[in-house]
Assembly symmetry: C2
Homo-oligomer: 431 residues x 2
């Protein structure tokens, strides 16, 4: 039976006479009489020692059998002395992308242009091993707290946020749009009686700008829950949820953190994260800006997010900050008011980047219609909300976490595109 590279050491220590291994040719070193191959598999790498020279290319897929042996000089202290050698698929010699190189020395465009091969680089691949653990931890935490996972349609007849920045789809004889968010559907599912729901699914924004924080298609972690009083319950839920994700990734993703020279925050720091009203947050931002000799900042801009997280890391030992009570004009019409000018809404900022937007939602139909008109919209634009809110919708709220943003910030990746397997931007739809 095939062993993974990570299992060879134990086999050598146990005195196993012969093991089978398979994977990719990561490196070749030919000394004539003795030849070395570094074999790469999903576990990591292991050194193979061969007495014959094989006509081999990098990235070829091979299968070997041989004796596992401890050897201090081998990387990882173990090697396989090969007795049987088989090429499963020979790679062509001229690799268009150097898989075994230092990923940090290669530009993002080249990494993405060569995505099919660049994903083989252990450091680049590790991003997605970590992302898989984030997905698992997200769902696992919520299930253990009474949440049901839902899968809602991504083809909608209009946008929840008001109809802009949507991708149109030719749907038989009509036009539909790719959903920006499952907002309406997750509210329906709270009111359906599931009360607590989450969804992990793609979301689409037809935004033209190209920044290190935007993707036109991203994975949205969505949460919605009923019977809440204010956004504070949502913030507390997110603190516990993130603490769990920090804990699980730190436990299971040593390899990714080590390759990226990063680590997850200590889980207990999430609870210490401050919750700051929008106006107070702006004051802190401008205190920090002025100390740094920077110009006045008038909103929670990317620069403000960065200053707030640095401030909190210094003052609270947590680079996670919650800003709540956003002014009404900055939030969607369905946001629940705190008073005439402020809303029960919040953002979560983590290591200098907004990773979450959320809030309590309006559940009273008359108030909902009143809010709509203030935004210059009409109830007729949102017929589904009438049915949702007229027939017994509980007080509720929710939030969404951007999967790629959280992944990127955990590993210290500068551009979220690197945390998307096959990122889509205005110019990129391949591979």
């Amino acid at each position: 039976m095939r062993l993974l590279s990570t299992e060879i050491r134990a086999a050598a220590e146990n005195g196993t006479a012969s093991v089978e291994a398979a994977g990719w040719v990561h490196r070749i070193r030919e000394l004539g009489a003795v030849n070395f191959i570094i074999l790469r598999d999903r576990g990591g790498t292991v050194q193979l020692v061969l007495n014959e020279k094989h006509n081999l290319t990098l990235e070829s897929v091979i299968k070997v059998e041989g004796e596992p042996a401890l050897n201090e000089k081998a990387p990882g202290g173990v090697e396989i002395r090969v007795k049987k050698f088989e090429i499963l698929n020979m790679a062509q010699a001229e690799l268009p992308y150097q898989v075994n190189g230092d990923a940090s020395k290669i530009g993002l465009e080249s990494i993405l242009d060569n995505r099919i091969l660049s994903l083989r680089n252990p450091k680049i691949r590790a991003v997605f091993e970590l992302q898989s653990v984030i997905i698992e931890a997200f769902g696992g935490y919520l299930r253990s707290h009474g949440f049901t996972e839902i899968k809602t349609s991504k083809l909608v007849s209009g946008g929840t946020e008001g109809g802009t920045e949507l991708f149109a789809v030719d749907y038989f004889d009509s036009k539909v749009y790719l959903a920006q968010s499952p907002q309406f559907y997750k509210e329906v599912m709270v009111a359906s009686g599931l009360e607590r729901v989450f969804e992990i699914a793609p979301a689409y924004r037809a935004e033209k700008h190209d920044t290190p924080r935007h993707l036109n298609e991203y994975v949205s972690f969505d949460i919605e829950m009923g019977f809440i009083d204010s956004e504070i319950e949502l913030i507390n839920l997110e603190k516990e949820l993130l603490a769990h994700i920090f804990e699980e990734t730190q436990k299971k993703c040593q390899n990714a953190f080590s390759l990226w020279k990063s680590s997850a925050p200590l889980p207990e720091t999430a609870a210490k994260s401050p919750v700051i009203g929008y106006e107070e947050a702006l004051k802190i931002v401008n205190d920090e800006a002025s100390k740094a000799g920077k110009a006045r900042i008038f909103d929670i801009t990317p620069e403000a997010e960065s200053l707030l997280c640095a401030w909190s890391e210094r003052e609270n030992g947590s680079a996670l900050v919650f800003v709540n009570e956003f002014p009404r004009r900055y939030r969607p019409f369905y946001t629940y008011p705190l008073d005439a000018s402020r809303t029960m809404s919040f953002d979560a900022l983590f290591r200098g980047l907004e990773i979450t937007t959320g809030g309590k939602r309006q559940h009273d139909y008359a108030c909902f219609c009143e809010a709509l008109t203030k935004f210059g919209l009409k109830p007729e634009y949102f017929p589904g909300y009438a049915t949702l809110l007229k027939f017994g919708c509980p007080p509720h709220g929710g939030f969404a976490v951007g999967c790629e943003r959280l992944t990127a910030r955990l590993l210290g990746i500068a551009n979220v595109k690197e945390a998307s397997l096959f990122p889509r931007d205005r110019k990129r739809v391949l591979p």
Copy 2:
């Protein structure tokens, strides 16, 4: 603190003096001096006893406090004698859909037209409680067997299956398409070195026909793994995976099974499921058809699927059947050949319905190109495959399970649309 309806009995037995409950008004029975409300929440229902009459409507959301008390005459043997009563959101009186009715007496069109309210019916909602458990069990099993969860783009520049039946998307100044399957991407991720991957995501088919087994948007459970010899390893994996899903749903979804008068197969029956070559399967089908006085069947049609599952249930005690060795003409060009006419491919049929298609894939680029030309296609149509296969792609294969089909067959639901929260067909894009 609020208790769920399912927690009231224990509170009564423990002599708790007062509990809080919240939910929807499911039924009202007014006797004058004493009034009863059946309160529905995500746990189930519980009877409330009130001495006053409140001006209430069905489906209104209420919060109560009161004394929990055992009462043999109450449904479930327990009730809350209400001391404090609050209406959180009053529902309008004229419900367009009867939530507390018998769902089996309502037509599918009416259920789907009124989806926002029909999902509140306990029997209809239970479909999605079970679906959530299927999703959890699917991912949980695979993670514990070395699989990594991936999230790939649903916006692609062409179709893996050859370009037909795709929905076009206006993507800035160009056209892209909604992915029919993550086929190419999951193969890339196997070759990236993750080796074993799975994805849970929407998939799109622009098929015009409207049948009880088709959806234009569905949730696809996708699996792909490297270093396999034939499709038999995939079939064995699926048997174990389904056994786990049967076990978990039976354990956690008593409510759904009881409302739908169904049950999961015993987990151990999955291992007993037969694996039958296509030609032999057709023979069995026609033996069965002839016994039933039916006309000859020339392919694995829906009728054949039904006959095969019934035959296997009778002969093997399992309504799960694997048919492999499909003729080359019936399978996509990338399918690995068994011989000149047959392929290393399979379908899984469960309770009369195909729930899976899969197989080993071609990993040799020269053979891949040769196969393409037999299908009248050109390698230039699939530039990504050149990079994938030329530079060291291991032998691999995989399969996909339709989430809605599996859900429907577990509960005995006749039309897969009922197992989709917000189904999309040619005429339906709302709600």
